[in-house]
Structure formats: C-alpha cells, structure tokens
Symmetry: D3
Subunit: 236 residues, 6 copies
C-alpha cells in the first residue's frame, strides 16, 4: 500500500475489528486507551465534543472531503454499518458546517455512533437532543456545496493522526484516540489491565497515601537530584 | 453613503425591520437564515455563546469601541429600543471584559435581547442566571475604562461582517448571521420555504432512504467520475 | 530575591495569607478582585474552566514542570495544605494532560481546592463528578512521563502572571486572578467596598435609570466631543 | 445600497479616485494614511507582505471568491485598469494558494500594481523577481479549482475592513490601509500636513530633546497622577 | 503494515527513490509537484523556511521525537545517506529548538540536504550562512534534552501528512510537498508535462491575452450563471 | 518586594549590570545564554525580530503600557541610559503599533540599543534603515493614543518572562533571553565555557564523527532500550 491518497474513489468494503473488542475499548475511555497502546493515537486537542458526558467507540469510515463541500459524507453514509464512526477530514483547513441534523438522522438510521470531523458542524442543539455525538474543530452556520469529489474509505490524516478505514475510534469528553484495527484486541487487553490496577490505587490516594510512596518515586527523585529546601530563603 | 467609519458620533434614530419579520427570522435559526439568504452573512466562528440552547433575533444597535474602553456601550444603551441586539466591535483586537451583569441589567430594562461582541464579556454566571444571552470572542475578568470616544449606530465590521444599524441579527448555539434590513422580509420567506421542505426529508432519512437518492446525487457523482471500489486492494 | 527560577528544588514551607482573607476573596469573584486591586493580576483568558458555576480561592502552591512531565505535581501534593490551590506551568508550551482523577483524589485528600494549569488536563468527566475544579488551557488524553526535574514552590510565570508561592488565587467561570499575599487583606477590603456599592446601582439600572446618569457621564462625553446625530443622513 | 453581498455578478465599471490622489497617498505610506484619516481603515495585521521595502497604492478591484476557488480572480483581471490593486477575500477562511506567477504575469500586463488577499499565494520567489507585490495571510503550494461563482467588484469585507470597489488601497511593509474613494482627497491633504510636521520633530528628537517636552506631555502626566520614584525601594 | 507507530526503534535501511527522479522533482518546485500528483501531499502552511530562494528535494529520513527531546535526531543522522532530508515530528506539539549549527554541521557532513521539522529550530543566522536549509514551525532559543526514546525511520504524520521513510520531500519558499516513493517517477513525468505547457501560456498572458480566453472559461462562466453588470447601480 | 505591579509610577534609578558583562552576554547569543543559565529566561517564540542578522544585549528599562496607549514609552525614554534596551508589555493583549521611527530617533539619541515589545511596531522599513533593532509580536500601522497611565521601571511579565528593571536582555534572530541582573556575571562565565567547548566538537562533526560517539550516547540509548531494526519489515 502506498501512502498516496487517491481522490474520486469510494471503497465499499472495509475490514472491521470484532464488535466486542470495539465495544470494550469504548468502555475504557480515550485516555486509558491512549496510554494502553503506548501513548500513541491521540487526535489534535483542538477537536472538541459538542456534548458532555458521552463516550463512544466504533469502526472508522473515513471521508476525505474538499473544503466547503460535504458531498462525500453523503456517499459515505451509504457505506456505513451499525457500529461505525464517521471520520472526516478536508484537503485543506476549513471551518464550514459539514454536518447537521438531517445527516445525523440518516446516520442514526444506519447505526452510525458518531462523527469526528476536522472541520465544522452545525445544528448542535438538535444533535444534542437527538443524542448523536460529534467532535469537531468548529461550530459553523455555513453549509456546504456538493460539487467536487473527494474519497471515502481511503487512508487519511485527520487531526494529526493517520487513520485507515476500519481502525477503531474511541472518543469522549477528553478527546479522541485511534487504535489500528490490527492492534485493537491487544490494546483492549492492556487497557483492561490498567483499569484493574487503578481501583486500589485510587482508594490509597483517597486515604491520603502519597503518590510518591505508592509509585515509589522518592529514590528516583533523589537520584535525579531534587533538593528539598525548608523555605524560599534557601533559594539561590 | 461612504464606507468611512466616523468616530465620536452617536446616531439616535435608526430604521428597523418590521418586528414580525425580526421575530420570524429568530424562529428559523442562524444556519437556516444564512442558507436562505444565499449563504452569506455569517459572523466569524470564533464568536461563541456563553449559554446553551438559546436563539435570539433583533435589530442591530452597533457600537464601535476603543480597545479596553466600554464608554460607548453606555451611550448605546440609551438609544436601544425593545427588540434590539447590541453589536459591539473594537478599533483593534481586544479581549477585555466589556460587559457584565450591571450593563445587562440596564440592557434588559431597555428590552435589549442580547449582545454580540468581538471582544470579551464577564459575569457569565450571572448573565446566564439573568437570562441575558451573549456571544463573545473571549470571557475575561478584566474590566474596561471610559476614556476615549468611539461611535454608536454607525456601520461597522464585526467579526468579518459589515453591519448597518438596523440590520437583523440572528444568533444561536451554532453562531450568528446578519441579514440586511432591506432584505429581511424576503430572506424570511426563503427561510420558511426551506423549513417546510425539511420535514418530509427528515422522515425519509429516518426511514433509511439514502440522501443519495432523495437528493438525486447518483448521476452527478457518476458524471463527476466517482469510482466505487470493492476493497482497499483496488486502490492505486 | 532574584527573578531567577531555580530548577530541581522543592520548597517545603511557604507563607500563606490568613485563611479568612483567602476565603473572603473567594466570595468576591475573580473580576471584582481584579478590579479591586487596580485592574491587575489577570491570568491569560485562554485558561478556561472545565466546569460551570464554581468559584474558588486558595493559596498558591506553584509547580514548574517540564513539557510532558508531571513528576513535580506528585512532589507538590505532599507539600499542600488544606486551602491550597495548585498552580502549574511548564518550561515551554505544552498541551498534554498533566492531571486526572487519580491526582485529583490525592489532592482532595490533602484539602486542595483546585488546579490552575498552563497546559492540559484529562478525566474531565470524573473531575466534574468529584467536584474537583480545574482551569486549564487544553483538555488532552495524552498522559505524561516522570523523568525530568522541575521545581515546586518557586516563583513562576503562569499564563502571563508572576506568581509567588502563597499568593492568593481566585478562579471562577470568568477567569483567574492572582493577589500578592502581602496585599490580600487590603485587596479584600477594597473588593468588599465595591460589592457594597453595586447593589443600589443594580436596582437603579433595573428601574431604567441610565448608566449615563448614574455614573455622571454626560458632561465628560460632551467635553470629549461626542456628537449626537438625529439619523445616518447626518454622517459625513 | 444594501449591505447585501450578491454572488454571481461582475460589475464592469467602477468609479476610481483621481490618479494623482491615489499616487499621492502611496507616497505617504500606510501608517501615515491610517493616522490621517482618523485612525481607521487598517486591515488585519495577519495579512503580511511577501516582499520587503515596497509601498504601493491603487484603486481596489474587489473579488469575493469561494474557498479553494480562484475563478473570480480570472474574471477580475479583465476588469482591471492600470493603477488598480486586486483585493481578494473568501466566503469562509481559506489558506490555499489563489495566485501565482501566471496570474501575476497577466496582472502586470494589465497594469495592476499588486494584490491584497485574505487567503494564500504561491510562487513567491518568482513574484519577488517579477516585482509584483503581494500581501497575503498565508503562502501555500495548494492551487485552486475554478468551479463555483463568487463576485467581482461588489463591496466586500477583507481582513476586517469594508471595501467598496474603487476605494484606495495603500500597502507597505507595515500593513495595509483602505481609504474610502470619496475621502481620498481630504485624507491625502491631512497626510501631507502630518508629514510636513514630522521633519522638524525628527531633528529635535535626534538632538536629544525629549518627546515629553516637544509634545508638552509633562503637565498632562502630572494631572493624570504619574508619580516619579527615585528607586524601586519606593514602590508599594 | 499497520498504521501503528512503534516507539523505541530505529530502522537502518530504507528504500529510496531513484536519485535522478528525486533531483528531477526538486527542479519542479513544491507547488508544481503538488499539482502534478493530483493536489495532494501538502504539509501544513505553518511550517515556514528560515531562508529565502532555496528549493531542495530528498529522501525522507523520518524522526518521531518526544517534546523537548532531540535524542532521536542524533540517532537519525547516523542512518542518513547523501541526498536525504530529515523530517522530524513530535508526539505532541512542541516549539523548542531541536536543531542548531552543530547538528547541521553533522548533517552536511553526511550529505543531508535539509530539515523539515514540526517544531522549532535555532542558530538561524549560522544555518543560513552554512547554506543548510530548514523549514520549521518556530524559531526558538530553547534547546532540548536527550532523555526519552522516540523512533527513527518509522512512518510518521508530520504537519498533517503521512510520511513513509524514503518518500520524496520537495521544499521551497512556498512550502513543502511529500511524494510517495512508489509514485515519484510518475509524478515527475506529470510535473514535467505541466512545466512544458506553462511557457507558452506565460508569453500569451504577458502579451495581454486574457486567461478567460486562454483557458476557455467564458462559456463555463455563462453556464454557471455569471452576470456582468455595467455598474454598482445594477446590484440588487 | 511584592509581586504587585503598581500603576502610575516611574522609577528613575535602576541598578544595572556591569557594562562589560552586558556586552559579553551579547557576544554569546540568546540561545547560548539561555542554555548557560540552566535553560531558563526564554521569551515567547511569538516575539520576532523585524530585521535579520542582528544581536544585541542591554539593561532592561521596563514599560507597562495600556492597550493602544504608548504614553509610558515617552516617559521611559527620558529614564534610559546608553546601553539600555526598552522592554514593553501591555496590561492586556494588544497588536497596535506602539513604536515607530520618531521614537526610534529619540531612543538612538539616548543610546538605547533596541526594543522588545509584546505588542506591535511600525515604520519597519525606516527602523531597519536606521539600524534600530526591534523584536515585536506584530507589525501594525495603527498608532496609539496617550491617555492612560501605566508604569516605567516596575517588574513586569513580558512574553512569559518576569523581568526586573536592570535585568540583562539578549536578543538575536533566534529569539530573546532575559538574565537576572544578579546572575549576569556567572551566566556569562558559563556561556563562555560552553562556547569554548563547541569549536572542537564542530570540527569533529564536520569530519564526519558521529554525535552518538562524541557525546557518548550509545550506551545510554541501549539502556533506554532502543532497538535497531534492519528494515521496515521488522516493525511490529
């Protein structure tokens, strides 16, 4: 496979991760998944949710769109399956509102779980009411035209991450993480291991045990040369 | 009329659109109004509401202020009528908090419906409690002085749009649109026509009919050269 | 004291303002405190709360961290006392998620009232549920390492303000203000005076009295040369 | 005239200011012209020249283009006359390269003096060699399509200023100022008066006379309450 | 190949395009190459050259670095061959100065043609004097540490483009374009074809022939509905 | 000393570092000085020089100005001595042109070596011709008023650094570094030591010796777990 992004094509069939794995990653949350896969896969922090307290996961159906033109989103919707997440980027930066309540109605009918878009969305009040979650860079009243081809289900770079159709998207209030499809299962296992460890730690911290002790940091801090001073008067 | 923006003047009487038209536009929402007037009139997407789920419309009372100086907002309030919206810009970019709960109290007493400001606001908790809606670029604790003249009710550029006093402002969660006063009636008619068409479309989409079919896109996509591929293996 | 910021040190004991003064400032809100101390002390408006309708005050425990490294936050927590606020900056701009629900658990156990950070936070859903308030520049799923020393309780510049450990932080929905510890008492007095004056003014404004009259602005406006025009036709 | 911006039109004939006045303004420089017309007319500081040490003036031929589409620039070139300056904006923010050496060749053949664009340019090496000056927000290798209509010679907002075709543009290393056509003559007179005053002042300053004395600021500073302290020890 | 980016590895041998092809692309310039490969491959416009009038091409040796840590650049230099271009990105946004005159000395000794970095550089005066070209997001005096592993010669996303080691980089004053290695030859052919066509067009334009005629746009404009108006009075 | 920034004062006498030390630091360059003082003191990278190939050092005369108001710069000039550098910040972000050729004439007459300003400058062509170097955030044609007091020679935060009057400023093409006055001598010594070490290293690197060997990195890389792979096929 070349890293070339072909324009004017729509790939109908894409491989997807096992649905239990996809759902399992969604229960972990984006930050845990990011950590579990070796601190990689984070989309740019400028992509923000339009809603609160929602976490989704799904298989990426990718859209490469032209600025100000959402034609390819329509093409993509027909290729979606239940459990998918639309992931949209543009060939150059654009803030227009590519997506609104009508497209969301269609997406929900197809079982799409949400939208991640490196551009703008609109109808945010209705989208929240409908329960269709969106992560976007902007909110914009400016709609789009349907004039120029892009592509559907080709590998794209969206918000700084390379995303292959069928990769797993995990998105919540904290941001978005992409997990390569072929690693989804092992990342889920690593994430579950992390979650398991946290419960006991949380209780200890709540009881006032210092993280310095729980994580055994004191020796390393000393080795690194940290000097404790009694007061500001001891500063150079 | 010249495009010159005079400083040091306050125009007392401005023409306003018919109140039924203004109110009608407010029921359409900013995105629909933007579309209905030929996709124009959008204010910059960086101006964001401090509240959720509020849509207003009103006649623009314009303020050209100096950076860090809200003197002209006080002058403007005396010239407002019920149904107006304050629209404030500055002579150079400024993030200070020009507007807070005291000014909002005064504005509400005058029947002002809201504020759109290419600068900052403060007292956001109180403003939300009072139900006085604000769209601003920043939220800032820094108040302003009252030292240098600007103007009231002169044509201004605010957030990328040219706004003549009396133009109609429609603002909601998605953003802000300005409608020239002289076009308000025809834009309302166009917007109402759009809304009417959407109900049936929405039902079809909810039933799973593809937008590609409803909007008859398949032929155009084919003419534009879209190629459907069975799988990623068919990519170049 | 030099303005030099020493790396690799942690100061154990810092002076704090009287707790009644700290709490009193918290009742005033950040904007009033900013105004009361002569319109100074505002942190950059890009630092935003992750929650709504929360106002805190506390004594600053300062952290100078390396980009992508929250080791010093762990060191700082051990040095916190009830009523403190963590104030974290980095040696160069960084958007990573330095702080999450585990650190918040530890912080709450220590009586820390909140976090102000010139970087990112994560676990925002949990933090809101726990009631631990945070003001940050970004929200990010990317965690941090624990490899390189910074300092704790040294003077820092955070979001454009110079902050000495023990200075008082006031943070709410509108932003953040720092009050030098040695001025906290006099600033509180000035703030209380301001608040007292506002009640009557608010009632007058609600009754429709013009701010132009309450603040006696008409003469100054005339002296400054403001010209009232009857209509736009009178513009140059 | 309405503030409505019509799409799909090209106005063939526009009024222009007297060429001696246009040229005269070009000799003043953008900052002096801005000051002379009452500190108004400044385009956003983010629009920067791609060359150094060039100052131009000319009559604005305006282009409202769609994002990523420079079709209207081609239409505009046919309507240009010697002494014009192309002023291009887009219906939503766009960074693409709308203009390169081929368009510049055509523009120079038509006597166009330069380009001001709220978007991107390319072929900057060639443009500098050709001596065709450009002020743009970005430099971008991404070319544009020719698919969607905008307008030529309609009033536009470009970089925060309202510009009517035929208004005078003055652009140099410091930025860009627009002068309404109807005020061009009076602004030139005011600018010339300013320039005249500066020579003597400059000599005095070079001789070490303080601006405080030349501009007679000492009394006003005292009235404003400025306190001179002998040393930092006298600070509060 | 998975889209997973592995940390802690350095790949010693990478495939490279034919050197004649690489050099040929460098003669075309970034904008022409971008156009020739179907308007794809553009790196973000915020990455700017520190020098003027320089165009390079080369095979990408990729570096994935940690914020504020240039250790992997040292590792990469040993793996470079004459004709390579260093392409550096970080795991989260960082503005530090990763590269200066010492690294440039080493790079030039290895035959490296330049650096493209989604972060900062320093010693810009010396780099210009040495003739080592750099494209970076920032210029920064802040050096970096050498503490945490990243990777060398793994696929990366740099400035919005997915870059596989051995892909061809073309960078000049207008920006940067990446060409997938496997397409380099065909893109070069397409670029050469474009260049050939331009000479005649340029002469016609210089002679005053309208682009509207050369590119045969008049019919399409008419079909699209462009209306020519005699004057502004004919606007709606 | 409190961290309070008093408004409305001008401190006449400030301590300055030994002029030989100040000049010595200027010969080191900003990046070397930054490194020599423990990687601290860097001003924000967004403050850029308007000229190339200039390095200055000097004693900071600080100005805290109001947005859009350069009155305090006039006050400051009278308090400057030969060898000083003006360092200007504003009470909230502002892009206006605070400084032009007249002020530069006065500054040069007083022996001032340059200007560092967290705001805008103008007359950049003339300033370059005069040889008066400026580092600013913006270039702007918009002049300023002289209406509201700030302060001169009080401690300020400028571009993210706390600067006490008399601290040493080193500024060049790469950026700006502030050295606390009381540390100037020791920082100079450390910087000179660094420079001395570099000559030999540079020669080795030019001869093709790897930095990995010169800096003895191979063992540490191995300990950190770096794995060399023969080719991309060995990636996970």
């Amino acid at each position: 496979m070349s890293s070339h992004t072909e324009l004017g094509v729509a790939v109908k069939n894409i491989p997807r991760a096992d649905s239990a794995v996809v759902d399992g990653l969604g229960k972990m949350g984006a930050a845990t998944v990011h950590e579990a896969q070796g601190r990689s896969g984070q989309l740019d922090t400028g992509i923000r949710p339009i809603q609160q307290d929602v976490c989704i996961s799904g298989s990426a159906v990718t859209v490469l769109a032209q600025p100000g033109d959402n034609w390819m989103v329509h093409v993509a919707l027909e290729l979606c399956e239940p459990g998918d997440v639309l992931v949209v980027t543009t060939t150059s930066p654009n803030s227009d509102g590519f997506f609104g309540d009508l497209l969301a109605t269609s997406a929900m009918a197809a079982g799409v779980r949400g939208l991640v878009i490196e551009a703008g969305t609109r109808d945010t009040v209705e989208l929240r009411k409908m329960g269709f979650p969106v992560w976007s860079r902007t909110v914009s009243i400016k709609g789009t035209v349907k004039n120029t081809l892009g592509s559907v289900n080709v590998p794209i770079v969206c918000a700084g991450q390379y995303i292959i159709p069928g990769d797993v998207i995990v998105a919540d209030d904290d941001g978005i993480c992409v997990v390569p499809r072929t690693r989804a299962e092992s990342v889920l296992a690593a994430a579950e291991a992390r979650i398991g460890n946290e419960a006991e730690t949380r209780q200890q911290l709540a009881d006032g045990v210092m993280g310095l002790d729980i994580y055994d940091m004191r020796t390393r801090l000393e080795e690194a040369g940290l000097r404790y001073l009694d007061s500001a008067e001891d500063l150079e």
